[in-house]
Symmetry: C2
Subunit: 438 residues, 2 copies
């Protein structure tokens, strides 16, 4: 027996063939693949073949956890150990008009719980918290982990983007998934989300898993599967975790589009909540659950009351203003669209359903979102939604208002939006926004 | 409608996602992928993801044909249009001791039918015609397509290796499959074989599809599937085609190993056929079928008689000598092994089965074959087989004789070979060598 063959030196192709034939990889095999890729020792073409095998054959929960850990260990984690306070974040799987982070984070921070929030950019039909914040002139999200920690100590809330130090393997793998059709894989999504969240140095995490026509997971069942896997990984890392399963069968709130959504959030934070009851209620519930995990109060009812009070008394608004100022943002200069146009229904009836992904793609067409990460965004572009599912609709009021700088894009957007809604002659019972919390 | 979006400009990732979700690719989509890859416009990592999707989800017959054509069109084809004669080749899926090309080609050419033979090297447990020929000192298989054509005009037979001009896309894709675990995929195997065979400029093709422990396809069913797909593609290209399904559950003939196999062929061509009845019979049948497709005689019986006559009268041997001389080979200087050793059964009985792949891998261990294309071969190394399945065996005669230059490899080879045979106490009925012809 030669000692050569006794060292752990698998060939990448052998590990690819294991996943291809539904055999289970060990922790050291997954570490070998991920570290090898992060360090440039295993080439793109072998990892992309492996990712496709994962997409088609899946991974076990245990393999997903090992993958999460390998990606986490590929970089630095935020060292928030000096902050003795409970630290909690929220993560949403994304949708159209999904702006709750900007409301719940100041609520929770205003009550003394620390919210270290590392957010992403919008891609495809979904929006991103960073893009929304950057529609506030001057708002800087590109802080170092050091500055992040300092801001958190001072204000209990800081919004930043993913830094180069955090999960570099995830960054490299995500870029490869994007060009190889392997984004929408449950174990890959789980590892990507959880490695970054664990790197934030949090104690607890509230997950808002979307289902429906505007979500990555189209069905309730898929969203439940994702939620269960994410929660399982969070628990392996001894993080407090709670999952909300919420509908993305219609856009959330009244606006989609970066500056438009910031304005919606500011209205809600100024306690002008009546026009935005879905955004407001979901934000309050998520905030209350974060407070509850942080043991701010012993019951959810008390936490919900505290969250409501924070908005009503202006504490949450004040917190948002402080944070915006600390990060260089000027809330008095949020840009407004130069042009707008309206879209009406063809015949009256009751709103039956929306094709929310197509609405999101219309936002991309209007340059409120991006097809590629290098695309430049029009912060003023977006869509206003005048009706919710179940409401009676006629031509007395527009269905959608389109906003943006480039009015030459409006005709294409109008004709697309016309096909994004179904109107019924009979009444329609809308589904609950929050399907499950566990 | 902008004209930009009306041009055919698919994104590679969209095509990957089609195969991933079992949607069917069009001809132009497959051309786009293969040409894009051959020309370096589509990167390795996208093609490897696509290959893995093909491995896991398959392709339709029509997609396989389009893939074959795209690979064929990526390079030059041998222009044999000046040769008005019928041109026919044989392709085998490979095995251990499978040397029929070297016998049937001179038989067929000696009767006036042209045999343009582009062969490969051995890889893994299977041997390759090029390696066998190159064990004849001076034999040059690296001719240009121009020289190939000239030799064919003069002698009706020429043996060459794949040139750079033929199917460069296949060459690039094969290398990628090798490192991404996607070699053993039916549609990829079909396209790789058929694109190269069609590039030869042939009119007809006889396929010898192996099944059994020494074949890539282990079961009869798998080999039949492969045969049917290969035949379907050949017919799409209006090539005459015939498939033999033959057993590789034992090595073919008496020897495996390059110079050893050349000697076996020369013995047969000199009409000393009695020790090699399986090699001889299969070669005769394949040769007769080639002659029959070429309409040399109107019945298979007549073609078989003509093939037998060619060997008996020495015409085939003479043809082989002429071709060897034309390509620089000196048949008087075939090297012999410096060392040999014998392997005996442990207890007497009847030969029940061989692990032919393990026997082939023992040849690799002895350096008769190669693990990597860069490995150097010992032309004298190999194994002699003294028994066939069903024969009574005892210790009076060795089971195997091992040959080679490096006797230090013999102990490991002996202990491996001991495990490559099963001996039964009761009599064993051997299967037919030729299972099906269609």
């Amino acid at each position: 027996v030669d000692t050569e063959s006794m060292r752990f030196q698998p060939l990448p192709v052998e590990l690819i063939k294991k996943t291809q034939s539904k055999k289970i990889l060990s922790k050291s095999e997954i570490d070998f693949l991920i570290n090898g890729y992060a360090q440039g020792e295993i080439p793109d073409y072998q990892i992309s073949a492996w990712l496709m095998a994962v997409w088609l054959n899946g991974l076990t929960d245990q393999e997903s956890a090992f993958l999460t850990e390998a990606m986490l260990n590929s970089g630095d984690t935020a060292d928030l150990s000096e902050i003795n306070n409970y630290k909690i974040d929220k993560h949403s799987t994304g949708g159209v008009g999904d702006k709750t982070s900007l409301i719940l984070a100041p609520i929770v921070a205003s009550l003394g719980v620390t919210v270290p929030m590392i957010s992403g950019r919008g891609l495809g039909h979904t929006g991103g918290t960073l893009d929304k914040l950057e529609s506030i002139p001057g708002f800087n999200t590109q802080l170092s982990l050091q500055q992040f920690s300092e801001n958190l100590k001072k204000l209990k809330l800081c919004f930043i983007g993913q830094t180069k130090e955090i999960c570099p393997a995830d960054k490299k793998i995500y870029a490869l998934r994007d060009v190889t059709g392997t984004i929408d894989s449950l174990p890959l999504i789980c590892a990507s989300i959880m490695s970054k969240k664990i790197a934030e140095g949090i104690d607890g995490l509230v997950l808002d898993i979307k289902f429906g026509s505007g979500a990555f997971m189209k069905t309730k069942e898929q969203s439940l599967q994702l939620a269960e896997r994410l929660a399982a990984i969070a628990k392996l890392y001894k993080k407090d975790v709670c999952c909300f399963l919420t509908s993305m069968n219609q856009p959330l709130g009244k606006f989609a589009g970066n500056a438009l959504e910031i304005n919606e959030c500011l209205e809600i934070l100024k306690n002008k909540t009546e026009d935005y009851s879905d955004t407001y209620n979901l934000s309050l519930n998520l905030a209350a659950k974060m407070l509850h995990l942080a043991k701010y109060k012993s019951t959810m009812a008390e936490c919900l009351e505290a969250a409501t009070d924070s908005v009503r008394t202006g504490k949450a608004y004040e917190k948002f203003c402080q944070v915006a100022k600390a990060q260089g943002g000027d809330l008095t200069k949020i840009p407004m669209a130069k042009n707008k146009t309206e879209v009406f229904v063809e015949k009256p009836g009751f709103i039956k359903s929306f094709d929310v992904e197509a609405i999101g793609m219309t936002c991309v067409l209007l340059k409120a979102g991006r097809k590629n990460l290098s695309d430049v965004i029009d912060p003023t572009a977006g869509i206003e939604f005048h009706y919710k599912i179940g409401e009676a609709v006629d031509k007395s009021k527009p269905l959608f208002t389109i906003y943006g700088s480039e009015s030459n894009l409006f005709e294409a957007a109008k004709s697309r939006l016309q096909n994004c809604v179904k109107v019924s002659e009979s009444t329609v019972t809308p589904e609950e926004l929050i399907w499950k919390v566990f």
